[in-house]
């Protein structure tokens, strides 16, 4: 229901506005909802507003899931190996 794309903060304009980039696309965004941003921060942007700062690395949760699954699945044959 809500399209949001990761952007990197590349310039702070004022308290509530920043320039952010998603790959080669640069756009002015509002930062009202995510205070204390700094240049280099990764944020999720929805409808022109940053809605959260992204932390950690992509796929972390999936690695954990993977490990848990290994325990669940005793039958190693059906479980795809790395």
């Amino acid at each position: 229901m809500c399209l949001a794309v990761p952007h990197k903060i590349i310039k702070m304009l004022d308290k509530n506005r920043a320039i952010a980039s998603a790959g080669p696309v640069e756009v002015e965004i509002r930062t009202d909802i995510v205070p204390d941003l700094a240049i280099g921060d990764m944020v999720l942007v929805h409808a022109g507003f940053a809605i959260e700062k992204l932390v950690g690395t992509e796929g972390e949760e999936i690695c954990t899931l993977w490990e848990e699954l290994r325990e669940v699945m005793e039958n190693e044959n059906v479980f795809p190996s790395n």
């Binding site: 809500c2 794309v5 080669p24 696309v25 640069e26 409808a47």
Partner: protein, 330 residues
Amino acid sequence: MEKLNIGHGSGGRLTSEIIFQILQPFRKENVSPYLEDCAIVDGNIAITIDGYTISPRSFPGGNIGELAICGSVNDLAMRGAKPNFIAMGLIAEEGLAKDELLSYMESAAKVCSELSIQLVTGDTKVLPKGQVDGLYITTCAIGTPPSNRDPLGMHLITPGDVLIVTTEIGQHEATIAALRYGLSVPSLQSDCAPLWPLVEQIIEMDGIKCMRDCTRGGLGTVLCEWAESTSLGIEIEESKIPISNEVSSLCDILGFDPLYLACEGCAIIAVAPETSEKVLSVLKAHKLGEKAQIIGKVTEEHKGYVGMNTKAGGRRLIDMPVGEMLPRIC
């Protein structure tokens, strides 16, 4: 009372519907069942006409003047015809800066001279302020179809044919969308270019069946039209479709599907399988075709439909877009 809306002019399903209705009164005159972008008349004359309106009139990679020549030239080139003459009609709004108009003519003339095309006749109208949005250009291009072969067209497509896209898709409309929706993409520009110099390289080769430039409605629309008109299936691989980072990032942000974005210098070519690799290598040797890729093939399966194997390993249908593409937040 049903009124026209923007969607009727956006390519895709509504456009097909309105064109069908426009042609109805002409039925007796026997309109070709295959709607191609250019007609071959009297056996040796290729002719096409197209209207151009774009906002903004100048954009990274081109302007309305250049577009008005490239667009019509490309319609000829797609049936293998060499462009020779242009007729041009201008409808301008009172108050348009003369220098601006002339700068577009400079750009248009430059393309003509590169391709040795002669401007042979034209018309200029100025309408009161508010009746036109700046400037509309209509061009009619006349050319020579290849003499030693049937004109290219959908009727030649057969199962097994290989589909080649000549360059990265969606560059033109993405450029315009970025301007319209306030996104800055310094490295993005329209692919606006005359395709004849590229087509000239391959037109004598065996196995070339059909070509289309992926304008309004984009690659997706052309493929759907081919599948529906020929009653054959089309199968493409998402991972093979050339697309720039710029276009795919912009699509992520605005919620667009790049398959439906208009191009102005990109063609899709159906080629017999035995010559496809050779055609591809000739295309790749030309600067307009450096990024050409084989993206799929024509099949006897799922007749009338376009299927795509997705990057994620799944399968889905490609349908014609309906109406204007709007940015979505949801």
